[in-house]
Structures are given as structure tokens and as C-alpha cells.
Amino acid sequence: MMRAPRVFVFVLAAIAIALPAAAQNPSTSLGTSPSTSLGASPSTAPEASEVTERFSRTAHLDANGAFDLANIAGNIVITAGNGRDVIIEAIKRVQRPNPNAARTLLQTIDIQVVEEANRVEIRTVYPRPRNFPGSVDFTITVPGDANVAIRATSGTIRATGIRVEALKTVSGDIELVDASADQFATVSAVSGNVTVRGLKASAIQLTTVSGSVRVDNSQAERLMARAVTGNIDYTGDLARSGRYELISHSGDVRLMLSGATGFEVLANSYSGTVRSDFPIARRGRGAEGNGRGVATPRAIRGAFGDASAMLVLRAFSGNITIGRR
């Protein structure tokens, strides 16, 4: 007697998995997809059933167009592709103790796609954004020259190879790999970490409040990184004539520099220590030293090499380190 419902659920899940993801009309996406899957998620609490539904859509984007995504909850993975298509794959999820209730709620999550020649906008619309027991995970491919802006409330953002304009989340981490930014770009989290690798940017601002910022092997004409309680780590070479402003209140600021680019540095910590592996020379007019820069346990001011890059490093209680890689 007990086997029938289990078999029924299993068969339903199998059918749903076997069904291909259905493309939806953006204006009538509520409950139109046949690809609803029903089954208990191993990652959810035992009393909650997770119902999922796949969403697929492809949109065209002209050269140098704009891609904009607003999502409330769920993880986002975005990658640059070769063609001119924006390929959107999403999984809607709802967790409720009652699977039927979960399925009903799932139908109310609407993924709206607005497609214009030079712009593609996606936003997830919930019947009630507050405390809705669901989320939407996105996996997206965009043309490599698309200017990408993403705003999320909770969930991680992982972006690879894109041209970034703005990435923002409140409680997730952000990872940006091999991206570029032609104009001013901003990447910000509130409680999450911001990690950037292989970035090429003219100007970018990386901020978090209680997370950390990490920048590896990137080139920026102007890079601003700020954290309040987290650390800021910069590893790699400096751009000639680049300006780097790294500020943390109670976290540490650490630079591990490779390459031969010289720099001028203003590094100060109120109650932490400041240390440099590079010999710092006095630069410009000043009363200090005989050709040597100011170097105290809490401040370093001066120049190394040709001083072509500018470093402004500041901490209140954190330590500042400029080391060789």
C-alpha cells in the first residue's frame, strides 16, 4: 500500500527529467513550462519538498549591447561566449512541506526576458518578494562584448570572461575571472567576499562590508578596494601609471607584488603595523630622511623605482604589508 505513492512520485520525476527544457514566451511564462520536476531535494530539510522547473531561452544581442539581470534569490553563473546569443538557462526552486503547495508557488515565479536589439534584460518576479520560499539559479552565456550588470539580493555571482559594468549582491560572494571593464565598473557585496582574477579594467571599484576582497593578477588603471572588517589582498603586478586605493578598517591590507613597476606609496594604519619589503625613497619636497622615505611602524610614505604607479593604502586597526611575490 505504501509503494504506490513513491512509485508515482518517482515516475513523475523521471518523466520530468526526461522532458527537454521548454522555451517560454517571456510575456506568458507563468506556469507554461511542461518541465516541472517533483521530488525531494537531498539538500533540503527532510520535511520540505523541493520542486524545480527549468527555464530556457535564447535571445540575440547586438555588438556592445547591454545585458541586465535582477534576481532576488539564487546563484548566478555567467560566462562570455563567442556568438551573438544570450543563452539563458534557469532553474526555479521552491521548498515547501507540501509538494502540491510548492508546485503551485513554483508556477508564480515569473522569469521575464525583455529583448531588444542592443539590450537584454532579465528579471525574476515573485508574487511576494518578501520571504518567498523559493529561488532561481541562472546559468547564462553572453556575447563577450556585452556590458553586464547584475543585481542580486542573496546568492553568489560567478562571472567569467565578461565585460563587467556592475555586479552587486547583498549576502553572497562574487567571483570575477578574466573579465574586463572599459568604463567605470563596480563590484560590491555586503556580507560576501569579492574575488577578482585576471581582470583588465580602466577603472573598477570593489567593495564589501563584512567580507574580504581579493585581487589576483589583474591590470587596472584605477582600482579601488574597500572592506570594513575583512582583509584586502592584492597579488600580481601593478599597471604603470595605475592608481590603487586599498582601504580596510579592521582588516589587513596585503600586497604581494611581482614585476618591476615602480610605485609611490602612502600607507598608514592607526593602530596596526605597516611594513614594506621594498626600499622606499623620499620623493618630492619634505623634511624627512636623506633620500629615504618616511617609514615608521604605522606609516610608509615615499617611492620605489620609477614611482609610476600610485598606492594609497589605509587601515584603522589592520596591518598593511607590501611584499614581494
Binding site: 535582477a70 515569473d110 518576479v125 539580493t153 562590508v209 570594513v228 598608514n268 618616511v294 584603522f316
Partner: protein
């Protein structure tokens, strides 16, 4: 008619336009009637009026590039979003412009001089910039609280927790300034923390506005389905 339909009249109203002075302007008259019974619009008008008053007292300064870039990016981002979301963000941007002058003063202390000289340039105990920040923060906080209900409890908890983190940073910097009123780094740390708090509040307002617009979109979709 709802609040959104009068958005374009808010600016004129704050600038002093009144239906009594414009006998043929039916929309303005309708807006005034709406305003009399709408707490949300009254709050907006009050905010705009206060900002206008405060801004008129500021000296004219060129904002530092960092702030301007942030504001420009924010404006561009808003332009790309639904029109209905513009009002609170415009207020937030106005507040950012308001503190731009204040921040400019702080940048004047950018250490192109020695630490002792920089310290001497800061008048002991005098932090006029801080007052500007406080005014801006108060305005943004009021705006954020008015829209707080649109955010889910987890997000609100995260934002509240991080505002508390910033408040601690502000307190630590103030304590350092109390011990060493002429310490330039303590003052910079205070301004950094205040600046970050302003940015977080701006983002909170933008987020709440986004969520509101999604809620409106959901209501529209539901209406469409019911028809």
C-alpha cells in the same frame, strides 16, 4: 490615480509650483488633492524639500572623481531600470551629491604633505564634514526605513548587521579622534566609514526600490492573468 502618475510633478511642487498660481493646471490640482491624503508622497515632498534646503546652504564644490563615477554609474543603472523606481533612488543620489561637497573638504586633507603637516591642517575637534555626512545618513536612513517592509527578513537582518559593523567602525574612529583630535588618519578612517555607510544605505534604498518594482510587476502579471 496612484503615486507614480504624479512623479513628474514632485520636482515642480518642491520648487514652489502651486495650483493656486496655475489656474488651468488640473494635474497639479489633482496632485495637491492626492498629496493631502497620501503619507508616502508627503514623506517624499518633505525629503525633497529638506534636501533642497540643505543643498542651497552648501558651497559649490566639484565632487571628487570617485564619488562622481559612483553616482554616474548609479544613475545609468537606474536609467536602465523601470521608471517607477526612480524617485527614491533620485533622493539617494541627491543625498550623495549633497555629501560630495563635504567629501571634497576631506580630500583637501589628502596627504600631499607630511603627516605632521597633515595633522596640523585638521583643526582639533572640528569635523564639519561629519555633520554633512550625518545629515545625509539621517535622510537615507529615513528613506530606507520607509521601504524596509519590501525586503525579506533575512536581507534586512544582513543589512542591519552590516550597518552595525559600520557603526562600530564609526565609533572606533570617533574614539580615536577623541584621544587625538588632530590625528589625520583617525579622521580619514571616520570619513571612510561614514562614506561606506552612505553607500550601503544608498544600495539599500535601491534594493528596496527594485523589490517594490518587482512586486508591482507581479501584481500587473496577476491582473493580466485574471483578465
Amino acid at each position: 490615480m496612484n503615486c507614480e502618475s504624479y512623479e513628474d510633478l514632485l520636482g515642480d511642487y518642491v520648487d514652489g509650483a502651486r495650483a493656486a498660481d496655475r489656474p488651468g493646471d488640473e494635474r497639479l490640482a489633482a496632485f495637491e488633492r492626492h498629496l493631502a491624503g497620501c503619507a508616502a508622497c508627503q514623506a517624499l515632498v518633505a525629503d525633497f524639500t529638506r534636501i533642497r534646503g540643505m543643498a542651497s546652504m552648501l558651497e559649490e564644490h566639484v565632487p571628487p572623481p570617485r564619488l562622481w563615477a559612483t553616482i554616474a554609474a548609479s544613475i545609468e543603472e537606474r536609467r536602465r531600470n523601470a521608471f517607477s523606481a526612480w524617485v527614491p533612488v533620485a533622493v539617494a543620489a541627491s543625498l550623495a551629491l549633497f555629501i560630495a561637497g563635504a567629501t571634497w573638504l576631506a580630500w583637501r586633507h589628502e596627504p600631499s604633505q607630511g603627516p605632521q603637516q597633515a595633522a596640523a591642517a585638521v583643526e582639533p575637534g572640528a569635523v564639519p564634514v561629519e555633520q554633512h555626512y550625518e545629515e545625509a545618513i539621517a535622510g537615507l536612513q529615513q528613506l530606507a526605513e520607509s521601504q524596509d517592509a519590501s525586503l525579506d527578513s533575512e536581507t534586512r537582518a544582513v543589512l542591519k548587521e552590516n550597518l552595525a559593523v559600520l557603526d562600530r567602525a564609526i565609533s572606533e574612529s570617533r574614539a580615536a579622534l577623541a584621544d587625538e583630535p588632530a590625528n589625520a588618519l583617525a579622521q580619514e578612517s571616520l570619513l571612510d566609514a561614514l562614506d561606506t555607510k552612505v553607500a550601503l544605505l544608498q544600495d539599500t534604498v535601491a534594493l528596496a526600490t527594485d523589490t517594490c518594482s518587482l512586486l508591482n510587476a507581479a501584481a500587473d502579471a496577476e491582473k493580466e492573468l485574471n483578465q
